[in-house]
Amino acid sequence: MASTTPTQIDQAPPVSKSARSTGRAGDKIFAGLSKGSGILLLVIMASIAIFLTYRASIALSKNEGNFLTTFDWNASANPPVFGIAVLLFGTVVSSIIAMAIAVPIAVGIALFISHYAPRKLAAPIAYVVDLLAAVPSIIYGIWGALFLVPQLAGLNLWLDEYLGWTYVFDKTQVGVARSLFTVGILLAIMILPIVTSVSREVFLQVPRMNEEAALALGATRWEVIRMSVLPFGRSGVISASMLGLGRALGETMAVATVLSPSFLINGHILDPGGGTFAQNIAAKFDEANEFGRDALIASGLVLFLLTLLVNGAARLIIARRKDFSGANA
């Protein structure tokens, strides 16, 4: 070291000059690469949208039914009649059920891991929750159809008996629990890991000073969480939920395996029936002719737009709550 230091100092001006010049080149290359990547993403998104719109327009121009209000999917028939009303309803309802169940539980797990659990316990719990994300969705589907559906029969009867007056939980058909409600529970389990791990990361980033200040003022652990952790983490939890919602909206195989689909809108969520965009595409794609596939692509375009809308809405919510976001802390 000692011998090299002087030579380095001697050669310092030329080295730094050349370093500066390669640095600039590196900067330029890096800037170019990142700009290119950014543009590539936009190009990919745009070409997906163009492809979907083009194929969808072929189908929509020949549809004999109203695409938005028809309760039927007969795209391969002659004349073709198909509409997305049932699919839109089923997709939204099952996702709402999934979010209502998953978000509170995920926030609870995240808070437990980040603020309550001893370190030795926190790591394995976090690990196990993350593992849930690695289970392929068809496995959830098989588990749902063979285990969850029979197990939910009791819960369904209970809900029907005590909450039947709400209309929503009124079970009007006998039959196994292959309903949107069951699908919602299954989706909740599937989106739990993503919501949990993002929320956990956000909660761990709450400035130590805030928490210590609250503790110094005599706050209990719950008060610390309520006054400093939750407000700080709110936007993060919202983004985490939106990520989960994205998965719930697009989930295919698990829904197709568990749901007993029918082209009817039914407000009684314990009754079998309904359908979702992704489930319908998976079920119909195999036997559809070329026109039928275009029609399915049209329904896929609606799912694409729905996801864009959800993400846009999430951005708006987060932007409104900028004061609390991690960037300003």
Binding site: L131, A133, A134, T257, D286, E287
Partner: protein
């Protein structure tokens, strides 16, 4: 913080491992089927190599279509490739619709289909078959069984109108008068009937629909289609899915290929066709019903018109006949020899014998003779 990050990394690495492992496994699964004969790979091959005439067959033959005949084709392919070295036949089991689309795009040598080509599909096929058109060759038959699961009931007789009314939600309890009348001496519970049908479009649904429309036109007013037409009932994915639901749910009834019933030990309905005794679903009884079929196609097209109202003793008329779709003229020169040689084997006595040994129904001799004639005339 650091600890958590590391764990996340580890978890995702493990997740990636699991996922890629699953991908590798599934990839193996679909590739190996063509070589090892899939589910039935353990059974000894019925054909001696001497029965298979390889002719000028060479290279690779792609085919695609109906999953209903998948197990039969897998066995044929296995026997055929063992006899003819240097030939590879690859049957992609997808669906009838997909098979016909692939055929009309010219990407496969032949397609397997649960239902005969529709006029517009024949029209389309003329582009691929230069100077000819697509034709249907009946190759595999099979009974569609009605599986039931009713506590305390081991044997159940039903006729077409009753089946129709069960599946269109008019008969709701197992102790309904109509069912009681057909089953004297059987104590039927007052359990609600849960009818299961296919939730995705399916040739099995279409064939059951054809039977019900022909045999019980007053009770079943729907046109036969791949999509389930009737109200009520519950949907499940695939024949396997319907069979699993029937196995699981008390008071249920569903329809699927006979092999699914035997595989899961599900009891099947004996059909009251008007013959002296109710008929049990079996390869043999289905073959008897197919024997009553007439050829509806013209020229070399051998599309069948099944007689669903047959009262022949021991004939079970809820059957599915699957076709191989080929060009009568204008087959691609590079695959023509292989198509002829392979289909010659499947239609041969040895090839048809494979069927009855595996829960399928052979095509009756009279029709089969014509099939062989047409195969030899392919060009």
């Amino acid at each position: 913080m650091k600890l958590q990050r590391k764990n996340m990394l580890r978890a995702s690495a493990l997740g990636a491992l699991v996922v890629s492992g699953a991908l590798v496994l599934t990839a193996c699964g679909s590739d190996d089927n063509t070589k090892d004969g899939g589910a039935a790979s353990g059974k000894p091959s019925a054909a001696a190599a001497g029965d298979i005439k390889c002719g000028d067959a060479k290279g690779k033959l792609l085919a695609s279509g109906s999953s209903a005949q998948k197990n039969a084709v897998d066995l044929w392919v296995k026997n055929y490739m063992a006899a003819c070295s240097g030939v590879e036949v690859n049957y992609k089991s997808s669906s009838s619709g997909e098979g016909i689309v692939a055929f009309n795009q010219g990407t496969v040598g032949f397609a397997g289909s649960d239902s005969a080509l529709k006029p517009e599909q024949v029209e389309e096929s003329k582009k691929i078959c230069t100077g000819g058109q697509g034709i249907n060759l009946p190759m595999v038959g099979g009974p569609i069984a009605l599986g039931f699961n009713v506590a305390g009931v081991d044997k159940l007789n039903l006729d077409a109108p009753t089946i129709a009314n069960i599946f269109n939600d008019k008969i709701k309890k197992w102790d309904d008068e109509a069912i009681k009348k057909l089953n004297p001496g059987v104590t039927l519970p007052s359990t609600a009937i849960q009818a299961f049908h296919r939730s995705e479009d399916s040739g099995t649904t279409e064939n059951l629909g054809k039977y019900l429309k022909a045999a019980a036109p007053e009770a079943w007013t729907y046109d036969a289609a791949k999509k389930w037409p009737a109200p009520g009932g519950l949907g499940a994915t695939g024949s396997a899915g319907v069979a699993t639901q029937v196995k699981q749910v008390d008071g249920s009834i569903g329809y699927f290929e006979l092999s699914y019933a035997s595989a899961q030990g599900i009891k099947t309905v004996d059909l009251n066709t008007g013959a002296a005794a109710p008929v049990k679903a079996s390869a043999e009884s289905a073959s008897k019903a197919i024997a009553a079929a007439k050829i509806a196609g013209t020229g070399s097209d051998l599309a069948l018109k099944l007689d669903y109202t047959t009262k022949a003793e021991g004939a079970y008329p809820i059957v599915l006949v699957t076709y191989e779709v080929v060009c009568d003229k204008g087959n691609k020169p590079e695959t023509l020899a292989t198509v002829k040689s392979f289909l010659n084997y499947t239609a041969s006595d040895a090839g048809q014998k494979v069927l009855s040994e595996n829960g399928y129904a052979p095509i009756p001799a009279e029709i089969n003779t014509k099939v062989r004639e047409v195969i030899n005339s392919l060009s």
